[in-house]
Every structure is written in C-alpha cells, then in structure tokens.
Amino acid sequence: MEISRVEALSQRIVQSYAWGDVVWHVWGSQKALQQDSKADGATGKGSVLRSPLVLLHGGSGSWTHWLRNIEHFAQRREVWALDIPGFGDSSLPSGVTDADSLVPYLANILKQTFQGNAVDVIGFSFGGMTAGLVAAEYPTLIRQLILVGVPGLGLFGKELPMRGMTPSMDKAAQRQVHRHNLNTMMFVRPESVTEDVIDLQEVNVARDRLRRRRIARTNVLAQAQTQWTCPVHGVWAERDALYKDTLQQVPHVLKNMASFSVVPDAGHWVMFENPEAFHAVVDPLLKP
C-alpha cells in the first residue's frame, strides 16, 4: 500500500501539549539527517538547509491527503505534514468545534515547532481556510500561503448530494457510501476512486472528530483577508464540485490573493487527482 511506503520514508513526530498530542510526519528533515550522520560518525558537512514547507489537509482528512505530493516537494523542501487537531492521529482540544476555534491551537503549534520563524504553508480546503485565518490573526507565523480549493468565501450554493452512514450498514455498504461521496465531492473521474483510495478515506473519516463544523459555508475567510500581510496565492481545480458555477468569482471575493491559478482535469482533491499539473502550478509559486 502506498501509504505505508510513503510513511516509512518519514519521521513521525509526536508533540505533547497541555491539551493533548499533535502528530507530524516529516520528510527530508536535515535535523534527522544530521542526527543519523552523527550516529554514523560522519560530520554532516555539505548539507544545505532546506526550508520547511507545511502541508495542511482538508476536512475529514489527515497527512495522507498529500500522499501523491510529499515526495515531489521533499526533493527540495523539508516537508512537514500535520494531522490537524481533531483529525488523524492528533488530539482534539476541548471546546474546539470548527476552524475558528482551531486558530489559536494551530498558531501555537506553528510557533512551537518552528521557533517563531515564519514558514511556507500549503493548505487544502478546510486546512487552507484555517491557515488563512491564522495568517490574518498571527501574521508573523506564515511567510507565504498557498490556498488550495478553500471554503469560507460565501460562494457555496446548494449542498452536494452526499450520503450518510447508518449503524446498520455492513462494510460493503459503507464502502459504497465512501465511493459515492468521493465521486460527488472530491474527484471528477470515477476511476480515481480506487479501492486504496476508499481505504484511505475510511481510515480518515473514522478519525474525524470535528463532525459538526459549519463555518465553511460562511464567508469567514473573505472577511479575514484584509489582515493578511504575507503573499497568498490561490490554486483551484478546474472542476471543483464545490465551485461548480462560482470558480470565476473566487478572485473577486479573495481580492487580496497575489494570484489565482486553475489546474485542469481535476476535482476538489486536485493534488491527488492530477498531481503533475498541481506541481507545475505550485512549484514556481514556492521558488521566490
């Protein structure tokens, strides 16, 4: 399975906070390389320090939302993929129910992890909206932000026809629900929904403890953008189901973005469905 292979290349870091544990997966860490080389008696000379790149997953996700991108970014950057509190293997702080209440926790995690140094962040969907709120309230923590298909712009129309689970459903029926929901919201090509992707989705959805979040449907991010001080770029999928009739309104609503690029042949989970085209758009944004 691809998840095990990519995870085996990472360093899993568990940080303890007063309210619970936070789990990062890190690739291409110079610190880890230097520690390894010390253990081998080597000096570690000649290594070039790579700047960290933080990846924040979407709702009902975990670091595995970036499964097809991590190795690409790790060629040039130290990649830090977070399980956002309340998702994946990270604890849920008490009282946190949505992106707005997560903001101080995420800000503190970034501050502690990177010693207050501003870092580059790519945030997908819910994770991008939360990062956009952090960039507004804690402008010193983020050097550059790339938003990928984020909500919170007040542009959502009718709810997508997602299906729910009932306790009486057997395993096969549950997997059918995941398949339907992935096809409805995340992908444009039915063949993108493989059995492995359903496995990934099952494990992530089961660990989502922020089920009652609602803020994505408001324009909370559109309001917060006036406080941004770092460059913020937007990258959306051409066929994002959440922006079916409103894609062209995004740059009007998020006027404070420095650029707005559209990735062809992909749905909402753009970096998974068309990773090559996604990397082609994001790489030049990450260079400066």
């Binding site: 460059p231 740059p251 420095a258 030049p284």
Partner: protein, 111 residues
C-alpha cells in the same frame, strides 16, 4: 471583468481587470477584451516583466530609505489595504509564458 489567460501548455490563470490590464501594458500588449501572445513574443515579455519587477523593488527600497532618513525610527505600518508586489503577482504569469514558450504554444485571453 476578469482576464482569463489560457494556453494549451498550462492551466488557466485568472486575474482581476486592473491587474490583468497592468501586466498586459507592461509587456506592450493592448489590454483589450481579447488577445494573444505568440511564442516568439514570450521571452521579450518575460524580460519586460522582470525589468518592471526590478524597478518596483528599487522604488520600494528607495521609499524605505527615505522613510528611515526622515524620522530616524521605524515607520509605523501603513493602514488600509496592503500592497501586493508585482513580483508576487507575476510569478505564475511568467511561469505560464515560460512553459508555453517551451512547448511553442500561444497564450490567449478572452477567447
């Protein structure tokens, strides 16, 4: 109005009207509702954008120096909407031109 730049070599790049017009003027194109940038115009266009970015950076630096010289202390942060630098804005556009040029495809808008 939006400027939607398209190329067979890349995804679309969308700009609000003022920014789209500004960038087209910088590369010597008429900022009309429709237009085309041919592959053989792209390297010159990239150079023009890089020159404009360098000029803007010099102007920003000069303004900072002037501020420092004036009051001798750090200037207070300006209120109101922040200025997004041309450097930040043109990154994806320059990349679009580079990739389109490499594949010998034109960039069009409004069509």
């Amino acid at each position: 109005m939006l400027y939607k730049f398209k190329s067979k070599a890349t995804g679309d790049l969308i700009m609000l009207e003022p920014q789209g017009k500004h960038i087209l003027k910088l590369i010597g194109k008429e900022p009309g509702a429709k237009g085309i940038i041919l592959p053989n115009e792209m390297l010159t266009a990239i150079d023009a954008l890089n020159v404009a970015v360098a000029q803007e950076e010099l102007a920003i630096q000069a303004a900072k120096d002037a501020n420092k010289a004036e009051d001798g202390a750090a200037a207070p942060a300006a209120d109101g909407p922040r200025a997004i630098s041309l450097k930040q804005r043109v990154v994806p556009f320059i990349d679009m031109l580079r990739r389109a040029h490499a594949e010998d495809k034109e960039v069009v808008w409004g069509v």
